[in-house]
Amino acid sequence: MKAVYLDNNATTRVDPAAVAAMLPFFTEQFGNASSMHAFGSDVGAALRKGRQQLQALLGAAFDHEIVFTGGGTESDNTAILSALETQGGRNEIVTTAVEHPAVLALCAWLEKSRGTRVHYIGVDARGRLDIEAYRHALSPRTAIASVMWANNETGTLFPVAMLAELAHEAGALFHTDAVQAVGKIPMNLKDTAIDMLSLSGHKFHGPKGIGALYVRRGVRLRPLIRGGHQERGRRAGTENAPGIIGLGVAAELAKEHIEEENTRVRALRDRLEQGLLQRIGNAFVAGDTENRLPNTSNVAFEFIEGEAILLLLNKAGIAASSGSACTSGSLEPSHVLRAMNVPYTAAHGAIRFSFSRENTDADVDHVLEVMPAIIARLREMSPFWDGKNAVQSGFAPTYA
């Protein structure tokens, strides 16, 4: 049985071309880019190329606007902590209730340890940001607004270009966690007011543990990690040369495939989603279906629990993920679904399918073939299901 991998928002397979490009930098080309000899200068040239490949993917004006980091989490931390230091006198953060823990855990720590005031902007039932509340929360005290471009659980896109302009009107910096957006939707940062953007290699077929922070020219940055002068003093430590080179190749490939991502991959996603909704009752899509990543589908199945679904899917050779409490070891369902007020009857049974360009029609066929039986089987065991119908469904599907 061929394994069907539909968990590409968790991580992706490194593209073989990226692996091939990286390998020499572990062996013959092992030099340190800072060295004053030939071993180093070859590496220096390769790093420059990686930077330019990423610049092209982002549509950034300058290649030196890119600072390589150890991944999305480090980039998020760097951006927010830096703003609190450079934005003299301003000490509030505006963010959203549905950010990744890379932002939320940092904010919670800042609240606790430094008394930083953090505004968490809520979302509606479809996951759309409350723009009025955002506007309202911005003030002369705001150091930075940090709003994710695409949500990792639902794929919902936030209008970051517009939000960046609103932040600037209040004199605040604007950062976006674009870890899930980069490589999936076209972007042209030079035409926006976005000051900083986080990305991570392993979400678009690059290696793990390498990412970048885009810092618009002219925006001051306080490094998170101090030491040597690498990355123009903005991120110390000998460069992860193989990682940067792999990330560069992945960026170039993503740019080549962005059209396919938004046509063929989108069509696969849509066919799976529509197919599931047709075959299975009491299921609905969580997220803003009009403004969504092309690769992500979050389907909530009522009256059953996500971990049980994942175990049965795994047995059928299908990898997906769930925002259910049980899978994470916490006692509550995902904070994203809770922020959306998804009814409990469904929040526990939400399954995220996330595609990449490596998926095929056969993958979709396989899921559509096995899923109805899995859901039926668990519902038969559920005390909230009488065999044909919900024992009681007070839920009016506003999500459709």
Binding site: K112, C326, E332, N341, S382
Partner: protein, 309 residues
């Protein structure tokens, strides 16, 4: 992925005794959909010798919840009611070759459902119809008795363990103090009875009390001077507005919520309809709390009160 034992996997993938039991003579229901797991245990009892001749379950929950339910039915079929009541959640976990610590509440749920089913058969009023106030953790519908039993049966001595075994404190955290008191009291009694090493007994105020995952999730800042000093009337007005906005979502779930009182940063609300049946799911309280904090511009704590309080 969890490290489930082979037996847990086997009982999840090939559960025995799943489904409805027609003409059950006793039914025990525990948990709620909002809490992420719920179990309905149905038993058939031979009135002659009070022997359990058949048992079936319906479970909403994760892999280990389904496996624990199925294991429970296998353990009790053929036993008399008195014999069955002697088993503990640990027996269920042992039968399955162990459960991950975070999943022990699945076995506790089985144990509690069995007690409920036997009480139902015997025509006793199951104490789950809690006296007002006896319900310690409203988010997960956990009462004092359940915590005491879990602490004794499993020799629990930390708040983290209590959360793993009963889920109590795992959501809004308003019950932490109450649960600490029960854990401390029960441990002290166990020490007095020679069941527990005094060095291990829990003392309130010692270790961190709120589970770590809870702390980082909390959208509420620690109390700090609020920039906007609102009068109580202004506060009440703002709170009513927020509740009005949230009402459609609550009604979707068949519930409602009403403001009872405001004391400084504590907001007392009364939940009704489905919100009560689901034991005041964390979702609701947290959601309301977040919105209120946002609107009032200060950290608040939303405290659900029961009718009449």
């Amino acid at each position: 992925m969890w490290e489930y034992s082979e037996k847990v996997q086997d009982y999840f993938f090939n559960p025995k005794n799943a489904g409805m039991l027609e003409d059950a003579s006793g039914i025990g229901e525990v948990g709620a959909i909002a809490c992420g797991d719920a179990l309905k245990l149905m038993i058939k009892v031979d009135p002659e010798d009070e022997r359990i001749t058949d048992a079936r379950f319906q479970t909403f929950g994760c892999g280990s919840a389904i496996a624990s339910s199925s294991a429970l039915t296998e353990i009790i079929i053929g036993k008399t009611l008195d014999e069955a009541l002697k088993i503990t959640n640990q027996d269920i976990a042992d039968f399955l070759g162990g459960l991950p610590p975070e999943k022990m509440h699945c076995s506790v749920m089985g144990y509690e459902a069995l007690r409920a089913a036997v009480a139902n058969y015997r025509g006793e009023v199951w104490e789950d119809d809690h006296e007002e106030g006896a319900l310690l953790c409203k988010c997960f519908g956990v009462d004092e008795g359940m915590i005491e039993r879990a602490v004794r049966n499993n020799a629990l001595t930390t708040m983290e363990q209590v959360a793993y075994f009963t889920k109590a404190t795992g959501s809004c955290g308003t019950c932490v103090e109450g649960v600490e008191t029960v854990l401390e009291r029960t441990n002290a009694a166990m020490v007095a009875e020679g069941l527990l090493d005094p060095a291990l007994a829990f003392v309130a105020g010692g270790a961190p009390v709120v589970p770590a995952h809870k702390q980082r999730r909390s959208p509420i800042a620690p109390p700090q001077p609020s920039s906007s000093r609102m009068t109580t009337v202004q506060k009440i007005r703002a709170i009513e507005e927020v509740l009005e906005e949230l009402r459609p979502a609550l009604r979707n779930d068949g519930g409602d919520c009403e403001l009872v009182d405001v004391e400084e940063n504590r907001v007392m609300v009364r939940m009704s309809g489905a919100c009560v049946n689901c034991q005041l799911a964390a979702v609701t309280v947290q959601g309301i709390q977040g919105r209120l904090a946002e609107r009032l511009g200060m950290p608040v704590r939303v405290i659900p009160v029961t009718a009449g309080q």
